[in-house]
Symmetry: C2
Amino acid sequence: MTSPWPAAGTPLDQIATPMPVVDEERLAANIHRAQAYFDAHGKAFRPHIKTHKTVGVAEAQRAAGAIGINCQKVSEAEIFADAGFEDILITYNILGAAKMRGLRELHDRVPRLSVVADSEMTVAGLASAFEAARPLTVLVECDTGGKRCGVQTPEAAARLAERITASPTLRFGGILTYPAPGSAAAVEAFLVATMALLAGKGIDCPVRSSGGSPDLYQAHLVPSATEHRAGTYVYNDRSMVRAGHCTRADLAMHILATVVSRPTEDRAVLDAGSKALTSDLLGFSDYGEIAGFEAARIVSLSEEHAVVDISECRDRFPAIGSVVRIVPNHTCVVSNLFDRMVFHRDGIVTRVEDVAARGTVW
Amino acid sequence: MTSPWPAAGTPLDQIATPMPVVDEERLAANIHRAQAYFDAHGKAFRPHIKTHKTVGVAEAQRAAGAIGINCQKVSEAEIFADAGFEDILITYNILGAAKMRGLRELHDRVPRLSVVADSEMTVAGLASAFEAARPLTVLVECDTGGKRCGVQTPEAAARLAERITASPTLRFGGILTYPAPGSAAAVEAFLVATMALLAGKGIDCPVRSSGGSPDLYQAHLVPSATEHRAGTYVYNDRSMVRAGHCTRADLAMHILATVVSRPTEDRAVLDAGSKALTSDLLGFSDYGEIAGFEAARIVSLSEEHAVVDISECRDRFPAIGSVVRIVPNHTCVVSNLFDRMVFHRDGIVTRVEDVAARGTVW
């Protein structure tokens, strides 16, 4: 069986499609620009590995100055613990015997491990699973408008912090939110109110963690936050360009695809479907942008085909057999589909790295 | 590192979530019901492996009487060739040096390999890659209304068939379509017209292949088709119930997920996001159905969270820590996210099998 993965030195126009590829220079620039911003503002930066799930990229983030990493699953954290990462925050309510067993093993070998909780139930589960000799650090997750998980009020946050503080097997680490985009004032107000309540109870709140890539460069508008978490900024995608977070020149990931059919004057078909791009729309009405052919619209995906409306650029659009570059709507879900990631510099493959935390289940 | 994959004999309520699970009895019933239908109507049945990507399931389909299998990628076909499958149809325009090299290797070891083409460009590429001593079988793909790939008219189909017939390194195998749902009359008309044109040119057209799960049990309404291809029928999903193809009692795959938060009276959050369910809507306005709680609506997904509107069933909805069963909108894309699949009988794990063709790239 021939391998689809190219050797270093291979030009991108000779590799199999569909294939996501990451530009080394843009990747490095994205990492350093974000870290420089947080350094300038005196905030800790904790990249979320969900976007790349790749050890080498996380190492570059750490080398640039990241305080640690953010994972969403116990099994992701295991991969990065194996790779020697010593400060891991899992921003998830860990529940259930199977995950708790994994979390305990992780705590035994990660010097600085922390998790979040937003309910008495989660706190009780964590409290009974750990030991006073080596308490687990728990942050209270707050819903500051993102409408996902999180306690709803500063009062509820303070109550849960008290509950954690009262548990000898847990250590209260602080408060955390994944805010709605553009909601800095609401986040700041929630943090300030919670900190005041905690101060009134004599509870220290060392970490105030906010997050998100779209508003990454507005993190200074939440002065009470001590750290920021973000994933997508590292590769960027079409949604980040739309949010004003970056320009097209900062897009590190593209998906190479081949034109496999031109059935009609106005229709082209590419070999990248929902199993390469995913169906994530993120508010767009089409499934990605074709670099250099922004007038073409990827109007539908089946699993291995993209149907492109080329009515606005039919004379210019590439012929059958040509390779195009797709800017994905959402980069994080693309990484999650491929076992390995191809990196390049100026269109020449530099390395192919395992997406080591892809396929981690729990 | 503990393994998330359960041992045989484990009850489903003790396994890690999120996790797709397949009911052995429903799986077997789906396989046998479809095969019995095609046997009764004297048509060949060629299951598409895209849904399960799993050798054991394909073996069960073959054992039930399938004529062969349908793959969408060269790299998928390689996995099933390794597993001893001898009749493989790849319903894709194969273009580019890398894929063509894989296709040639495959042709050397698969007794009955066939592909499709819908353009002179694809036919020319195939013709130059194979040898007259062992010609490759090529079917002409026809667009009968599905508006994806395919020649647009019976005349164009006949012209391309002539071109294939004229190539000493290729063998014309017949015609193929992936039709729009509910379009049996249009498919039959296209097939009949093309067969008449081919007969007029003295070209034999042994295979007329149609496909699709939603209309599987209407395949007899296309009498000129000699074979049918379908994938989703084997597991079924919410879209198949809506199409009238099956009932909820025929749903073989569910995704187990844990309630990880109840932030408000009307909101619950599950540990299954777009990296477990995908964002495929398939025309639905929500991201799956929770078995037994059909009034709950999965209104949004982030990568590892599902946000559920439980306003219509808030008193009944399970507490934090409980496990629920999600019926996915689209089963094929779920299989593609997990490295292994958990099978069970009456809620007890029977086996865990590699999703061997997951992550195949080209």
